[in-house]
Each structure stands twice: as C-alpha cells, then as structure tokens.
C-alpha cells in the first residue's frame, strides 16, 4: 500500500498542474479504485472508510436543499457524523479548506441525543446501525441527507446507503425518502448510483 501511495505522490509531483486542493479527493479515488475494502491503514483507518469519507464530501455537490435551509448564500455545509470516529476524523481532514457550490464544508461529530439542528448531511456509522431508523426519522423533517453503511438501511429511512460491490465502494439511493425530506438529488448522482429506489415497492 505504501508503494502505491508513493507512486501516487510521484505522479503528483510529475503532474505539476494538479493543485494541493485536489489531493484529498485524489487520494480517496486512488485508494477506492484499487484498494481492498477491508485493509487498514497505519492510523487504523481502512481504505473503505477513506473512500466513504471522500464520497460523503462529494455528495454535497449533488444535493439541493430546500431554499430556507441556509441562512445566507455563503453559509457552510455541515456534515454530521454519528459514530464511525476514524471516518469523521478523515472527513474533517479532507473537507478542511474546501467548499462545495461556494459553501465551505464543516464536519461535526454527533453524540447520541445531540440535536441535529444545522446539520445538512448526516452519516451514521456501522457502529450505530441499531439507531438508524430512529435517527433517520428525526432527521427527515429537518431536510437532512442521511447516509448510512448498513445493509437494508434504505428501508429504515436512510436516503443513501454505502455498499461494497466487487470490492468497490458503491451506493444505493432511496429517492422517495429524499423527496419526503424535501431534498432534490441530482440525476447525475443517480446515474452513478448502484440502485435507485423511487417509491414504495
């Protein structure tokens, strides 16, 4: 893994056009495209988690929140993370200094029982799988995009759920849930979704 990272660094150096801003995203994709999902990095973070962190950040660009969600045009997009502590840390690292659609991205750890006010995207880690239904229900009226990594989470009210297919991180989308939450997901996002659920079966 280290060797691959080194190659990546060398490539970075060679392609001088690449900016430092691109670094995290590239890292995520580089790892996501080839690394085994379960392999762990030196700091305890798995490649799968790195990719998911990158994806989480990317989702912000393909979601349209209700008009009243943001107080002002330049207000930040806040990603809330329930559980999955390493991923939250990685996400904070990735999102630092970045913006999506002219908005900076901030990351907030959500502890059990903590208010979801001001959160736009909420990731519920595998370790909090049991609470997915409850949290999703809480989040729904607040127009929060809920993202999970638990099989069958879409049935529990989650809008986007990470899955691993052929050792790649993919995701499925519950368009009906998003609509209920007043969110519009870009068709471009849907085009890369593994599966899109549009209504009650």
């Amino acid at each position: 893994m280290k060797a691959r990272a080194n190659i990546f660094i060398r490539n970075l150096v060679r392609l001088s056009a690449w900016t430092a801003l691109a670094r995290a995203g590239l890292l995520a994709m580089a790892l996501g495209s080839a690394a085994p999902a379960s392999a762990a990095d030196s700091d305890g973070l798995t490649l799968e988690q790195r990719v998911k962190a990158a994806f989480l950040y990317q989702f912000a660009g393909y979601v349209e929140w209700p008009p009243m969600t943001f107080a002002q045009p330049g207000a930040p997009v806040t990603i809330g993370v329930v559980g999955a502590a390493p991923l939250a840390a990685e996400l904070a690292h990735v999102a630092a200094g970045r913006s999506v659609g002219g908005r900076p991205v901030t990351v907030r750890r959500i502890r059990p029982g903590e208010s979801l006010a001001g959160v736009h995207i909420l990731f519920i880690g595998r370790d909090e799988s049991a609470r997915v239904g409850q949290i999703a229900r809480n989040a729904l009226p607040q127009s929060i995009l809920t993202v999970t990594e638990t099989d069958g989470a879409l049935d529990l009210g989650s809008m986007i759920n990470f899955i691993v297919v052929d050792r790649r991180v993919r995701f499925e989308v519950a368009l009906d849930s998003a609509e209920r939450g007043g969110l519009k997901l870009s068709s471009r996002l849907l085009s890369v979704a593994r599966q899109v659920r549009t209504g009650t079966p």
Binding site: F8, N11, L15, A17, W18, T19, L21, A22, G25, L26, M29, A30, G32, S33, V51, F55, Q58, G61, Y62, R98, S99, V100, G101, R168, V169, R170, F171, S186, R188, L189, S191, V192
Partner: protein, 506 residues
C-alpha cells in the same frame, strides 16, 4: 494555338476574358478554401471541445464516485457520432479510467493525459479537457475526432474545378455574345483593308458602326483611303498625260525621221540625176569642142590659103576681112582648147605629191614673163609653205593667176605682182596680188564662172575660162578660192589648200 492567338484579335479577347475570369475565380476560390479550412478547423475544434465538456460534465459524478462502468457507458454513447474516433477518461491521477474506440478501429490511446489542449494531429483533431467540479480536478477527458481536411480540400477542388469549368463556359458564351460588338467593326475594317490591298480599289469604305475608338479608326481609315484614292487618281492622270505626250513626241520624231529620209532620198536622187546630167553635159561639151576643131581648122587653113595663094586676086579690103576671119577662127580655136582642158579636168585622175610652192610659183612666173610683152613687172615672192597636191594642176593654178596678174597690171607704169601665203589651223592660204585694173566687187560672184568676163576682151584678151579652171582645181584639192578688189586699185586672188590633208574630190 499560340500562333492562332497571335493572329486573331478575337482569340486575344477571348484569352483576356478567360484569363480574367480564371484569375478572379482562382483568387476567390483560394480565399474561400483557406477561409473554410480555417473555419472547418476552428469549428471542428470548438465542436470537439463542446463534446469534451459535455462528456466531462456527464462523467464528473462517475469520476467523483469512482464508477468507470458508468463513465464507459457515457463514452459508449459517442458511437452515435461517427466522426469521433476515440475518447477516453483519465482519473485525476492520470490513469486510464474509461475509454471508447470507434468500431473496427485499432487505436493506441495515450497512456497519460495532457494539460488542456486542442490541436490538429495529422488527420485528426485531438483534445484533452480537464473535468473540474467545485474547483477540483476530477480527471481528464480525451477525445480524438476525424479531421478530413484532405478530403474536404479534394471536395473543394472538385467543386472549384466544376465551378471554374462552368464559369469559363458561361464566360465564353457571354464573350461570344459580346465580342460581336467589339470585334465586328474591327473585322469589318480589316476586311476593307484586305479588299483595298487585293483589288487596289480605293473607293471602298469601312462602315462606322460604333461611337467608340474603333469608330474613330474607321473614320480615320476612310479619310486615309479617300486621300490615297485622290492621290493615286492624280498620279494616274499625270501618267496618262505623260504617256500621251510621249506618244505624240514619238510620232513627231518618226515623222521627222521619215521627212529626213525622204529628203535624203530626194537629195540623193537629185544628186545622181545632176551627176548624170553633168556627165552627159561634159561628154557633150567635149565631143562638141573636139568636133568643132576640125571645121575650125579648115576655116583657118582655107582662109590662110586664100591670103597666101590668092593675094593678088582680092583687094586689100577683102584681105583685111579674111584676116579678121582668120584671127577670130584662131580665137575660137583657143576657146575650144580651153573648154577641152576644162572638161578634161573633170575626168582626169589626180596625183598627190609634196610640192615646193615657192619654186613652183617662181618657175611659172619666169615662164610667163618670157612670153610677156610690155614693161617687166616687179615680182615679190615670199617663201611659201609646202603643200600637197597634183603638181601639174597646181602649176596650172599658178599659171592662170599669175598670167591674170600680168595681164591686168600691164597697163600700169610700175606693175607690181606680190605672192605670199598665210597659214591658219587648217589651211595654207596663198594669194596673188597685183596693182592692175581691179574689179567691181559687185560682180565678185561672177568672177569664177565659165566664160564670165568683167572686162571687154578688146581691153584684156582671154577666153573667160581661166578662173573657172582655177576654182575647179582648188575645189578638187579640198580648198576654195575667192578674191577682193576695187576698180583701178588692183585685185587679190586667194586660194586655200588643206594642211597635209589628202586632197578631196570635186
């Protein structure tokens, strides 16, 4: 072909029209082709850039969410656009993420993406376009499309050739229609020129059909023709006049020649008649003279016998009368002798010899003086030039002239006879001068006639043949005789002989 163009103004005009058309078409065509190929390239690159942007935008989520399959599906849609030969998406890292290649095309895709660039690469347009979302480079789109510039150029050349051909044909048609207005008047003038040259007819005129320079040319040409016509007519007239004059002159010449010939013929005729008559006359006078001598001798002889034999029977008066008969008969005999000498001279052959004129004149004078009665005259003889002639005849001339001088000066108290000569370019002129009776110059013309006498024979005896004989001899020698004198003051008789020239014939 070239010589045909050089000969005919029509071909030259056609060439001008066609060349102009061709040049205009060439300039237009080349400009259009250059412009269009440029536009084609720009449009192709713009189009490809737009395609790349669309692909990039569409494949951005696939890149963002690491979904090569979805990206491949997007690229597969490019199959609807056959001009695109290949397309590829590279990840931000530079790895090939997804690719598309037109069917049946074996193409090596670039192993690494390049920065944003759009260029022509041989027969292809190539573009690299970065995919950027939220200020992040997600990857690069690569596209390669056909760039059929050669084909397009070939199409253009084909169209251009066809248009050119058609334009030239139309141009030729228009020219054929218009050139009549331009060349017809010129050809008209050229035709008239040919007519003038071939037929020498200056009365033809070129027709003025236009109001342009060719019309002016026709007018000028006509004026020139008129002038030439006038001049040639004047020339012909003058030639005719000259010919007439010449003919007249020739006729006059011929007439003159004819008259001359006629005259010569008549002169010759007359001359021969005269010669014949002269001969006849000479013969007649000779025979008459000769025949007269016999009866005369009888008259003289018998009258002499009458006096000698019958002196006693006739009285003195009768004897005197017989004496008169005798003397008159003797005079007649002298006359006849002179006449015979004169007529003989016409028939006698002349000899030619160098004569010592001084000696001849002296000896002749001495002979005459011996017979002369009366006072001896003073005789002055200068040295005379020598001359050529018949010695006997010239001696006769001297004898006659000197005897005349003796005779006519005899009555002077101191008779003087002077003989001398002068020489001019052609002749020696001899003269005999005396201080005798002289003569009246009015009768000079009669001096040298036969039987012409200026003095009565009783004053100066003579037959009247002497000077005629002198004249005849001198003329036969090619000279002439003349005289001057006054009554009572003497006379001078001249005769000339040619210097050294052979004697003529009289």
């Amino acid at each position: 072909m070239l010589s045909a163009i050089a000969r005919s103004i029509r071909h030259k005009l056609a060439l001008v029209v066609l060349a102009t058309t061709l040049a205009a078409l060439l300039v237009t065509g080349v400009s259009l082709v250059i412009y269009d190929l440029r536009a084609y390239r720009e449009a192709g690159l713009d189009d490809l850039a737009a395609q790349a942007d669309i692909v990039g935008r569409a494949s951005a989520p696939a890149l963002a969410f690491d979904d090569p399959k979805a990206a491949g599906e997007y690229l597969g849609l490019l199959g609807a656009k056959p001009a695109i030969a290949a397309a590829a998406i590279y990840s931000a890292k530079g790895k090939l993420f997804a690719s598309y290649t037109r069917k049946n095309l074996d193409l090596q895709l670039p192993s690494l993406p390049e920065p944003d660039v759009a260029r022509v690469d041989g027969a292809s347009l190539v573009i690299f376009r970065r995919v950027v979302e939220n200020n992040e480079i997600l990857g690069t789109v690569y596209m390669k499309a056909d760039y059929q510039v050669i084909g397009r150029l070939a199409d253009y050349l084909g169209i251009f050739g066809a248009v050119t051909l058609f334009s030239l044909l139309v141009g030729l048609g228009v020219f054929a229609w218009l050139q009549r207005a331009l060349t017809a008047p010129l050809l008209n003038i050229a035709g008239v020129t040919r007519q003038v040259v071939e037929r020498k007819d200056f009365s033809v005129r070129a027709q003025r059909t236009t109001q342009d320079e060719i019309g002016d040319l026709a007018d000028a040409f006509n004026a020139m023709l008129a002038e030439i016509g006038r001049r040639s007519e004047a020339l012909e007239q003058s030639n005719r006049f000259l010919e007439r004059e010449m003919a007249e002159r020739q006729r006059a010449d011929a007439e003159l020649r004819r008259l001359n010939e006629e005259l010569e013929r008549r002169v010759a005729e007359r001359t021969s008649q005269l010669e014949a008559a002269n001969k006849e006359l000479e013969g007649f006078s000779y025979s008459v003279s000769h025949d007269l001598r016999a009866p005369l001798r009888a008259v003289v002889g018998f009258s002499k016998m009458l006096i000698e034999d019958h002196a006693g029977q006739i009285d003195a008066e009768a004897q005197r009368k017989v004496g008169v008969i005798q003397s008159e008969a003797q005079r007649m005999g002298m006359l006849i002798d002179d006449l015979l000498a004169f007529s003989r001279l016409g028939r006698k052959e002349m000899s030619s010899a160098d004569i010592d004129m001084t000696g001849l004149a002296r000896s002749t004078f001495e002979g005459l003086r011996a017979q002369h009665e009366g006072a001896a005259p003073e005789f002055r003889l200068d040295t005379l030039p020598r001359a050529r002639g018949d010695r006997v005849l010239i001696g006769q001339v001297w004898a006659n002239l000197l005897s005349n001088a003796l005779k006519f000066s005899a009555k002077r108290d101191t008779p003087l006879i002077e003989v001398n000569a002068v020489t001019d370019e052609k002749d020696h002129i001899f003269f005999v001068r005396d201080n005798g009776a002289g003569f009246d110059p009015r009768y000079q013309s009669k001096l040298f006639g036969v039987f012409q006498r200026l003095h009565h024979s009783s004053d100066f005896p003579g037959t009247g043949v002497g000077l005629a004989l002198v004249q005849r001899i001198v003329v036969r020698h090619g000279g002439r005789v003349w005289a001057d004198g006054k009554p009572g003051e003497g006379a001078t008789f001249y005769f000339s002989l040619p210097r050294g020239a052979p004697h003529g014939n009289a």
